[in-house]
């Protein structure tokens, strides 16, 4: 078994497409009650307060995919978001935290395909990647050839990360090989862009199916597995995260490749973000606490983090209107 501390050259490489192994899917188990108990006890087992909390929240900022996925998105709205991604924290707060000399920007900006060129333009000169949701997001029910074409178009438009959605119907009918084939085609279409596979865990019906879909996506060479589109009734939760991170650990132990994790939807409080970071540190290890291997898919989390950092510095609780909007 691979230990977390072994960093080999292969472990830094991208997760490649591997052969489909039905046995790996068949033996998976996920006991909901036990997983919920662990998820409930994790935040109580580790306390991150004071100076450490400020440091951890700053790190969290670097791992946020700052997101806008609305029907009323416009180039202007996207440009504003990109400006916030470049400068996520007020300069005076950053200075007070001793971080003026340290680069601080969000992990990426995440938009629909039509907004990609505007985001690319707005982020020019920064190294902030543009992520595009794709493949008929959020339902994934447009024709396969269009879904593949959508990926290619977004990559051509300058997106370096593609958040694809899986066909839930293949997972729900346990047609794992078909899901695998589809994901392999997506991965090939991504080319150099990194693929994040959205499992839509809130629609999969059981944690066991979440584990199975995670493994299928990783066999198909995905770079990240991601919980949700943000449009399902239930989005990221700690129990789902436990199942997906354990799948990532298992994949690493089997293959030596590190796959990233992105919980998305519903994470809007700094306190919740800390629980996720604790979970990643405990279940996967500190290597995963980087933008290369962990992202929050969130639109309002940054605002709460800004307020908490302000409070850390001033000792007074802060207000939203005191922090520049994105």
């Amino acid at each position: 078994m691979r230990q977390d501390s072994e960093i080999t050259s292969e472990s830094l490489a991208r997760n490649p497409i591997a052969g489909f192994d039905p046995d790996r899917i068949a033996g998976l188990q996920a006991n909901r009650s036990a997983i919920e108990r662990r998820a409930a006890s994790l935040p109580a087992r580790r306390s991150v307060k004071g100076t450490a909390q400020a440091g951890w929240l700053l790190r969290a900022i670097t791992m946020i995919d700052l997101t806008t996925l609305s029907g009323d998105d416009t180039p202007g709205r996207v440009r504003r978001l990109c400006a916030k991604a470049r400068r996520p924290l007020r300069d005076d707060l950053r200075a007070a935290l001793g971080m003026s000399e340290t680069p601080l920007q969000t992990g990426a900006v995440c938009v629909y395909h039509e907004m990609v060129p505007h985001a690319v333009q707005a982020l020019a000169g920064s190294n902030i990647p543009v992520a595009a949701v794709s493949t008929g997001f959020p339902a994934g029910l447009s024709p396969l050839k269009l879904r593949i074409a959508e990926i290619r178009d977004s990559v051509a438009a300058g997106a370096s990360e593609i958040d694809i959605v899986i066909s839930r119907r293949h997972a729900l009918t346990s047609d794992w090989e078909r899901l695998y084939d589809e994901l392999c085609q997506f991965r090939e279409a991504c080319g150099p862009a990194h693929m994040k596979a959205i499992l839509a865990t809130g629609e999969l019906g059981s944690l066991r199916r979440v584990a199975q879909a995670s493994h299928v996506a990783m066999m198909a060479g995905t770079d990240f597995i991601k919980t949700s589109t943000g449009k399902e009734a239930v989005n990221a939760t700690l129990p789902v995260s436990l199942v997906m991170t354990r799948a990532i650990r298992d994949h690493f132990e089997r293959t030596g490749y590190r796959v990233g994790y992105k919980p998305a939807g519903g994470i809007s409080k700094a306190k919740d973000a800390l629980s996720y970071l604790v979970l990643i540190k405990e279940e996967l290890g500190p290597h995963w606490l980087t933008p290369e291997l962990f992202r929050f898919g969130a639109s309002s989390l940054l605002g709460d983090i800004e307020r908490q950092l302000d409070h850390h510095i001033s000792g007074a609780y802060s207000a939203a209107h005191l922090h520049p909007m994105g």
Binding site: M1, N31, R32, S33, R46, V48, K49, A52, G55, P286
Partner: protein, 789 residues
């Protein structure tokens, strides 16, 4: 480290809980404590120090209880008890409710004090121990409220002596005193000498919360104080939690004193992981099983049984998980494991490990503090069942493991232990998990979970893990006894006279009763027999003189038959008992004549046969109606309280009811799935031996009922000492009880006795029927969390 450092290294910072309020409380008492008697502190005994095991620093001076103080404490409890009982259930409920509120009000103070005194992580004291303490008092406030109306035929013992261990000082106090007080007893409690402080705080705050003075008294000191407490003639009931060794000593020490006894003792609880389990969750479960409270837990899942196919990958996952545990300051909120209770205990654990080769022991790679009594999590893999560490309770953070192939083998390995406290089973297959839960001999079984506790669910052991339950109605039952029977209850004929020494008359027809073992009539091994004389002194026949060897054979037959009989349906067992009644009824005249010949009174004899028929009908009726319960625990899942048969029950039959005695006992015991070895009355054995033919014609499987005749002086000690007999019933009242109880302490078999008076009226006495049934069963609590999706 500054913000930027944490930003870069993402380390945890120290997050200590402040000990200030707790230390202030100790300082406010001048750091000095003594015996608590009716609200007054006594400090005349020699003092010893309470230490913080994490630092070795002294916390307080504790004055040992002197013999005079002990006497005062017991007298204070005796004096307070009638008023406390007289307050009535609803009155006591209000006080228990106030105690629950009091614990919640001071939750953090209790948690910090407990951590300082024991070395356990603050998270465990705060999130586990103290909430369970409060819950226990709330639940028992409810039991007190309902006790008078729900159990009018039961009464408190009086004064309870309670001795508790150092691993969960306040939680064990709650488990002991809440049911005792709810039932109307007064208490003298001795906390462990290493961990008195939370009990002292509790006593102080309970006083303020309105617990009447004298109802709860604390005595302090080492095992000698505990021994004097339990042995004191002023005590009516003893409850002990601690080691099996001390439990046995207590059982012997109080033998024959007529005291109630419940024991919650050691364990070597199996933790079974089947190949189809959620392995990551099972690994996490082990953290809660064996590294909870540094492994100093009586029900710790300390014996890991892995199915062969997954053993290797599971062990690899487990080792990686062990390395991630954080050891250190118990007051730090990021600490997973704190300090062992004392240097002496740490050394004892390390001493036990000398039995393993050093390279067999995997020590987790987690960092250890330089000072304090810390031990790392340890794993000893691939031990064979014969290894002593597979059998001995280590009571530390040491897990031992072995493998199994089949479900059958998992159950066999799990049961290959003197203990029977708890078991954990991981499998995603409900058929497999529940089948195993049924097969494993343990008082508590957790399916896909571990160390779940709640006041509504009974906790306690089988075999040498002790007897009695804590929690639920069954826990209250350990602190009450049936109300004294009304004076009119049952008259019995005098026992037949001992045979005269006069020369026996020659006999017309030879009748030599043999022994009945494994469904066959067998000659006694001794080759001797003795004439049986009638009430008029005339010879009625001969009885075989059974010996230890016959007893051995009978127990073997009973053991062999037991699992099959327990697995047969309750409906079938009922059917067989009804059929037995039918066949006995067909021979009613013959049995009446036999009893008349032995006892002299035809009317009395006819009444006894009629009562025997009624007993068979009564317990046949109960066979499929003495059911368990589903406990409303705070969990998405089921906590099933199952009535498990004791196993093999030995019965000493009375002289006064030579037919009714054995028939009642065998009916109650076998109805619930036990098998029996009955020692017939030596004075009037022939009614029992006449039952052979009734049993033979009633489809009773061989070995379920075994009947021996012989001298009680030979048979009783052998039966009471037999290690494979699970329970011993004496229907001879308290005759020889002292000897019986001390012999039985060897394997801690459950002893139960009652006088034969009352058997004639059992049909009309529901409480007595339930008493028989409760003696025939042990409650097994099976926790089955569920949910998927």
């Amino acid at each position: 480290m500054n913000v930027k450092d944490y930003f870069e290294n993402m380390e945890y910072a120290p997050a200590p809980e402040s000990p200030k309020t707790a230390l202030d409380w100790i300082a406010g008492r001048n750091g000095c404590f003594g015996t608590q008697i009716a609200g007054i502190e006594h400090r005349s005994g020699p003092a010893f120090q309470a230490l913080n095991p994490a630092t070795g620093a002294p916390l307080a001076q504790i004055h040992s209880t002197t013999p005079e103080e002990l006497d005062l404490a017991i007298k204070a409890a005796r004096k307070a008890q009638p008023d406390w009982q007289g307050l009535g259930g609803p009155g006591r409920a209000r006080v228990l409710y106030a105690l629950a509120r009091m614990v919640q009000r001071h939750a953090r103070l209790f948690a910090v004090l407990e951590t300082l005194d024991t070395g356990k992580p603050i998270r465990e004291a705060r999130d586990q121990d103290i909430p369970l303490v409060a819950r226990h008092f709330y639940y028992h406030a409810g039991l007190a409220q309902l006790s008078d109306s729900a159990q009018p035929d039961r009464a408190p013992y009086g004064v309870c002596a309670q001795v508790i261990p150092w691993n969960f000082p306040l939680l064990m106090l709650a488990w002991k005193i809440a049911p005792a007080l709810a039932a109307g007893n007064a208490v003298v409690l001795k906390p462990a000498e290493d961990t008195c402080l939370s009990a002292l705080l509790f006593a102080e705050l309970a006083d303020q919360a309105g617990l009447p003075k004298g109802v709860l008294n604390l005595v302090l000191g080492d095992g000698a104080v505990g021994a004097a407490l339990v042995a004191d003639p002023g005590i009516d009931k003893v409850a002990f939690t601690g080691s099996t060794e001390v439990g046995r000593e207590i059982a012997r020490a109080i033998a024959g004193q007529g005291k109630g006894l419940s024991l919650e003792l050691g364990g070597k609880s199996p933790y079974i992981v089947c190949a189809d389990a959620d392995l990551d969750s099972a690994v996490e479960g082990l953290v809660d099983a064996i590294w909870f409270n540094q492994g100093q837990v009586c029900c710790a899942g300390s014996r890991l049984l892995l199915q062969e196919g997954i053993a290797e990958s599971f062990t690899a996952k487990l080792r990686a998980r062990m390395d991630k545990l954080r050891l250190g300051d118990p007051l730090d909120k990021c600490t997973d494991m704190g300090a062992m209770i004392s240097p002496a205990h740490r050394d004892r654990v390390m001493g036990l490990l000398d039995q393993a080769a050093p390279d067999q022991i995997h020590r987790a790679a987690c960092a250890l503090p330089e000072h304090g009594t810390y031990l790392p999590p340890m794993l000893i893999s691939d031990l064979d069942p014969a290894h002593p560490l597979m059998q001995q309770e280590i009571f530390g953070p040491v897990l031992v493991s072995t493998t199994f192939r089949t479900l059958e083998e998992a159950a066999a390995l799990a049961n290959n232990s003197a203990y029977g406290l708890a078991a954990t089973i991981w499998s995603e297959n409900i058929n497999q998990a529940l089948d195993l839960a049924g097969r494993v001999r343990a008082g508590v079984i957790w399916v896909n979970a571990t160390n779940l506790f709640d006041a509504a669910a009974g906790f306690g052991g089988m075999r040498e893990s002790g007897f009695g339950r804590e929690g639920g109605w069954e826990g209250l039952g350990a602190y009450t006894r049936p109300c004294p029977a009304p004076a009119s209850a049952g008259t019995m004929p005098a026992a037949p006279a001992a045979p005269s020494d006069g020369p026996a008359e020659p006999r017309a027809i030879d009748r030599t009763a043999k022994l009945y073992i494994g469904g066959k009539q067998t000659r006694p091994d001794s080759g001797y027999s003795r004439p049986v004389l009638g009430a008029d002194g005339s010879p009625l026949g001969d009885m075989g003189l059974g010996s230890r060897k016959d007893l051995r054979n009978a127990v073997e037959a009973a053991r062999k038959a037991q699992s099959g009989w327990a697995k047969s349906t309750a409906a079938l067992r009922a059917q067989i008992l009804y059929y037995m009644a039918e066949n006995l009824s067909a021979r009613q005249d013959e049995f009446t004549a036999r009893l008349t010949a032995m006892q002299g009174d035809p009317a009395q004899a006819a009444g006894e046969v009629e009562a025997a028929l009624e007993a068979l009908f009564t317990f046949a009726a109960w066979a499929d109606k003495y059911d368990g319960a589903v406990k409303p625990v705070p969990l998405r899942g089921l906590a099933l309280a199952v009535q498990d048969p004791l196993g093999v029950i030995g019965v000493l039959c009375p002289d006064e009811a030579p037919l009714l005695g054995p028939v009642t006992a065998l009916a109650a015991a076998t109805a619930m799935g036990n098998t029996t070895v009955l020692i017939a009355s030596a004075r009037a054995p022939l009614a029992a031996t006449d039952l052979y033919q009734v049993l033979d014609t009633s489809d009773m499987p061989g070995g379920v009922v075994n009947i021996l005749t012989g001298d009680l002086a030979d048979m009783a000690p052998a039966l009471a000492q037999h290690r494979d007999v699970d329970g011993l019933w004496s229907l001879r009242g308290d005759e020889n009880l002292k000897d019986l109880e001390s012999w039985a302490a060897g394997n801690l078999k459950r002893i139960w006795h009652r006088a034969p008076a009352g058997l004639m009226h059992l049909t009309r006495d529901g409480a007595a029927q339930r008493d028989f049934l409760a003696a025939a069963c042990e409650i097994k609590t099976i926790w089955v969390p569920y949910g998927d999706g």
